[in-house]
């Protein structure tokens, strides 16, 4: 946005930690949700009376419901292991972006109201009241966490700041302080079925357009079906795949893969969204509601399998939570895990010869791969530990001849968030997004300079949108970002299969 003035951070020569700059991001906060965004979700329209008590009460309720919160709030020893792990700290130097300091915003209130030490000796143990100043800090700094879990990898107790941020956001929503970005989108999902508010007829139109484009390009009538009852596969994909670049090239790729493998599929106009923004706001009830749109769509359409498109936080909710929210899946084909990731499907088809790829189709590119944070640290693919790192790389390598990995301190379980995850992909947080992308941009810069990398593949709608937006700030071309299935789409051999 034009009124946001800030400097894009410089690449650090030796990746040294930034100097602490207190308050460096104290001005950063997302637009606050209005009553019209909150009320459809059952949250109060605006800051309630006696919100201080209500917030503490909600915290108490969450402590009863969530073991992680209880253990994490008690266990931190302030060792400092996490202090240099958050991309937002590395990009801004604001000390409240150190994971432990972010956690302490909630921990201090927990100590004041739920621990003996905090009630008796608040100063000694850093216990603080829930007051206006605290709420302001919560709103600012719990919206500078992208729930990427990188800190949790390095914490000796596995304390996951994402859990604490989610709890804080849940508490804030319950006293009437939510973000416009997430809450407005969630309301759209409940009414229309997807984040973008793309209604059924428009979806059909879009998909028909894709069919025409692909037929024109390949001469083959690849189908992009909507609401087909009795299809075998229900594809759940982020709505950005329906028209944003480079997302849509990935969707084109899924269609080609299904076509060549002879898989009969459909998307649903009722559940036309993979991303579950309720995770961002930490609301179990909302996550449950949104997830069960998928269950209903699967039942209504009578499908046998559910496959998810490329989306990071969506894959977390799908892989780790969907069985909890929307299972059991006893009405689906037990031969397949539910849900499956499109990359698992494509990978298996490559291995068993169900599809053929000609990697030379991508010889104009040198690829690297950005592990999406939530795929890397909150999910799996395939049937082996770490499959979420192996499978995307194998699919890329089958589609492209030239592939280079980035610095191992920035990939796989140690990957950095793109800077726009966790409900922060909004223009009102542009400065944060640009600065938070710093560690990834540095690692990308290395492989561009040293290995001539031309493109970076991603498997998350947020990563793709975030990178296309922030990369120009660092002097990179936004077209460098590609979907993995865009590469598959280029390389896949269409047409009749050779018979043996």
């Amino acid at each position: 946005m034009a009124d946001q003035k800030f400097e894009t951070p410089k690449f650090r020569e030796l990746r040294e930690n930034p100097q602490i700059q207190e308050g460096a991001m104290a001005h950063s906060q997302p637009f606050i949700a209005k009553a019209e965004h909150n009320e459809p979700l059952g949250f109060p329209g605006e800051l309630v009376e006696n919100w201080e008590e209500k917030a503490v009460e909600k915290l108490g309720e969450l402590l009863e419901k969530n073991k992680a919160l209880r253990v994490y709030l008690d266990s931190c020893v302030k060792c400092g292991a996490c202090t240099d792990k958050c991309h937002y700290f590395l990009g801004t130097g604001d000390p409240k972006n150190m994971p432990v300091a972010r956690q302490d915003l909630l921990r201090s209130v927990y100590r004041r109201h739920f621990t003996t030490a905090g009630k008796l000796f608040p100063k000694l143990v850093g216990a603080k009241e829930m007051d206006k100043e605290m709420l302001d800090d919560w709103y600012k700094y719990f919206h500078q966490c992208s729930q990427c879990r990188r800190c949790a990898v390095f914490c000796p107790y596995g304390i996951d700041t994402a859990e604490i941020s989610m709890a804080a956001r849940d508490i804030m929503d319950h006293i009437g302080v939510g973000t416009k970005y997430s809450n407005e989108i969630l309301a759209k999902v409940h009414v229309i079925g997807n984040n973008l508010g793309l209604p059924g007829p428009a979806l059909v139109n879009t998909m028909e357009g894709l069919e025409e484009d692909v037929e024109e390009e390949t001469g083959i009538p690849v189908k992009y079906p909507v609401d087909v009852e009795g299809a075998d596969v229900l594809l759940i994909t982020p709505s950005a795949d329906f028209f944003a670049e480079p997302h849509v090239d990935g969707l084109i790729g899924y269609g080609k893969v299904f076509h060549q493998a002879g898989i009969n599929w459909t998307v649903s106009s009722y559940a036309s969204e993979a991303a579950n923004f309720a995770m961002f706001i930490g609301s179990y009830e909302q996550m449950h509601k949104v997830s069960n749109r998928i269950r209903k769509a699967a039942l209504d359409l009578g499908v046998k399998r559910i496959i998810f498109g490329e989306c990071g936080h969506a894959w977390r909710v799908a892989y780790s939570f969907l069985n909890t929210f929307a299972g059991p899946w006893d009405f689906l084909d037990p031969k397949y895990p539910t849900p499956q990731h499109i990359l698992e499907v494509t990978h298996e088809l490559i291995q068993n010869g169900g599809i053929k790829l000609d990697a030379s189709a991508n010889d104009d590119k040198v690829l690297t791969f950005h592990d999406s944070c939530n795929v890397a640290r909150a999910t799996r693919m395939g049937n082996m530990e770490g499959g979420q790192f192996i499978i995307p790389r194998e699919v890329i390598k089958a589609s492209v001849n030239k592939f280079v990995d980035m610095d191992p301190q920035t990939t796989c379980e140690k990957t950095f968030c793109c800077g726009g995850g966790g409900g922060l992909l909004t223009d009102d947080l542009m400065e944060l997004r640009v600065k938070g992308a710093l560690p990834r941009m540095e690692a990308l810069n290395d492989v561009i300079k040293n290995h001539g990398v031309t493109h970076m593949a991603a498997i998350c709608a947020i990563c793709k949108s975030q990178f296309t937006k922030v990369m120009p700030y660092y002097g990179f071309d936004m077209d460098m970002v590609v979907s993995v299935h865009q590469l598959v789409s280029e390389a896949i051999q269409m047409g009749a299969k050779e018979t043996v």
Binding site: S75, K78, A81, L124, P156, G158, I159, D300, F321, T338
Partner: protein, 246 residues
């Protein structure tokens, strides 16, 4: 019986009760609070056995800390391993006759005590020297280190500076175990040492020392990666199944 003996006897009964009841209450709350969702930090083991190995590496070798920061890791290992050796050395005060393996480890306990103090001083130094760690350190963090250093230093002082009648110390503690009070030597280093230990025991369930039981209940480490195979459902959320359409 001297007043001193009675004070210390009461202090240790009290401290032990607080430690046991306090930690048991906390452990019970950790164990019984449900996890609503599957949140293992991936890649995570796909079997229970795998999780046991993961936790063993975490607790015995501080695997994640090793990945994170070599300095903290070295100092933390020095402190914790040293403390463990020193604690083992102290078993002799509670068992008669002392077990053979404790006798064997006895001399290493001293090195343990030294390592412990060295590790603690290193960790403390970080709280002043590293800007980020200085920012996150509060009064209780410094006090906890001071208390532990005091325990280690007075312990070492009784070995190297002003020896105490350890035979009589053993008689005192065996007496406590049998509810038969025996006199405690009135030596300053010993009294400071024991006072600090009792303080630590009392503070334990109310402080960050809860990381000791906490680490065993951290869902991000203890959960098995099997979300697609097994439906995980918290009791408080089970009723929501009935509310959904279809």
């Amino acid at each position: 019986m001297s007043a001193l003996t009675i004070i210390y006897a009461v202090l240790f009964y009290f401290a032990t009760a607080i430690l046991i009841i306090g930690v048991a209450t906390k452990v019970k709350s950790y164990a019984t609070t449900p996890s609503p969702l599957k949140i293992p930090v991936m890649p995570a083991p796909m079997t229970r056995t795998g999780v046991v190995f993961r936790m063993f590496r975490e607790v015995a070798f501080f695997e994640s800390l090793f990945k994170s920061n070599r300095w903290i890791w070295i100092l933390a290992i020095l402190f914790h391993a040293g403390l463990l050796l020193a604690l083992v050395r102290h078993i002799r005060y509670f068992i008669d006759p002392t077990w053979g393996w404790v006798v064997f480890i006895q001399p290493f306990g001293i090195y343990g005590g030294m390592a412990m103090v060295a590790g603690l001083l290193g960790l403390w130094a970080r709280r002043f020297l590293v800007e980020r760690v200085r920012y996150i350190s509060g009064p209780s963090d410094h006090l906890m280190l001071a208390l532990l250093v005091l325990i280690g230093a007075t312990g070492l002082a009784m070995k190297f500076v002003a020896r105490t009648d350890i035979i009589q110390v053993k008689v005192f503690f065996l007496g406590l175990l049998r509810f038969d009070l025996q006199p405690l030597p009135a030596d300053a280093p010993l009294l400071i040492h024991l006072g600090a230990v009792a303080t630590l025991m009392i503070v334990f369930p109310f402080s960050k020392l809860l990381h000791v039981p906490g680490v065993f209940f951290s869902p991000s480490r203890t959960q098995i990666d099997d979300a697609r195979e097994k439906r995980h459902l918290a009791p408080w959320a089970a009723h929501m199944d009935a509310d959904r359409e279809a």
